[in-house]
């Protein structure tokens, strides 16, 4: 990569870093993990920067890497649990921890399956359209719609349950 391309990438990275870490936090519920996710995703983008630029929309590529990485971490946790012989945890593994000091909404998000969590963050935090979310996640618009609807329902139910427990 020449110095001009390096500078382009540096500018791109500085412009996305904060949002990417926040997205990672929404996906994992852990700031350190979120930074790791963002760093790894950006390193992969760097490694194929000319190709990513040619694709026309580097942001889609970047978000897809972060989301896939977070989904991969979730499935990795399930595999490790199975290997150790204990009961596999649900996809929402990093969620409810005893003495959790995270905001209630983050805890509720962590209870959602990884797919629904991704849809909630892209659709309601990043203000992406259903079509854009579908493009990032590589699924149909109908799927996005149904995942969003289920996620909202779960968040409402979860909030009721959490309220009962905490009160």
């Amino acid at each position: 990569m020449d110095s001009r391309t390096e500078a382009e990438f540096a500018e791109f990275m500085r412009g996305r870093w904060s949002a990417l870490v926040r997205l990672g936090y929404g996906l994992t519920g852990d700031e350190r993990l979120a930074e790791d996710l963002a760093r790894a995703a950006l390193a992969r983008v760097y490694a194929s920067w000319p190709r990513v630029l040619r694709s026309g929309d580097p942001d889609v590529y970047l978000r897809r890497i972060v989301l896939n990485a977070s989904l991969g971490k979730a499935s990795g946790r399930r595999v490790r649990k199975r290997r150790t012989g204990s009961e596999p945890e649900p996809e929402t593994a990093p969620a409810a921890r005893v003495g959790d000091d995270r905001p209630a909404l983050v805890t509720a998000l962590m209870r959602l399956p990884a797919g629904q969590r991704s849809v909630v963050l892209l659709r309601y935090w990043m203000d992406m359209t259903e079509a854009q979310v579908a493009a990032v996640l590589g699924c149909s618009v109908g799927n996005v719609r149904s995942q969003a609807s289920r996620a909202l329902a779960s968040l409402r139910v979860g909030e009721d349950a959490a309220g009962e427990v905490s009160l």
Partner: protein
């Protein structure tokens, strides 16, 4: 926490996620890691090509048998020489002596060509002739 509707969820998500203050973007660390990934990819490509080349060279070798060893014994060459003592009107052929194994049994005179010399004489080498 209470989520009323989609709009409410948006507001709450903004509040929670904007509260996160990420550190400075680690551009140089990311670039270093990216270069490592690039190098790994290049190494993978080179390794893949080497494997393909190895298969290309090795597989034909598995199916092609080596050539049989060529005998180093001296070949025996029979040479026919034009006969100079052909009688008038006859056709002559020079005959070289046969190998010893083939001359084990002496031939009788009946074996000789009609009008020609007897077989032992032929076996000893010389000229035989045929009638026209």
């Amino acid at each position: 926490m209470s989520i009323v509707d989609e709009q409410d969820l948006r507001v709450q998500l903004d509040a929670v996620l904007d509260a996160i203050s990420p550190p400075e973007a680690p551009v140089s660390a990311v670039a270093r890691k990216g270069k490592v990934i690039q190098a790994g990819r290049s190494l993978g490509i080179v390794t893949g090509l080497a494997i393909v080349a190895g298969i290309g060279v090795g597989i034909p070798g598995l199916f092609n048998r080596p050539a049989l060893e060529v005998s180093r014994a001296r070949p025996t060459v029979m040479v026919q020489q034009a006969c100079t003592t052909v009688p008038r009107g006859g056709q002559g052929t020079a005959i070289t002596p046969e190998p010893a194994a083939e001359r084990a049994e002496p031939r009788s005179s009946a074996d000789a060509p009609r009008g020609g010399r007897p077989a032992p004489a032929i076996a000893a080498g010389g000229c035989a002739w045929l009638r026209p």
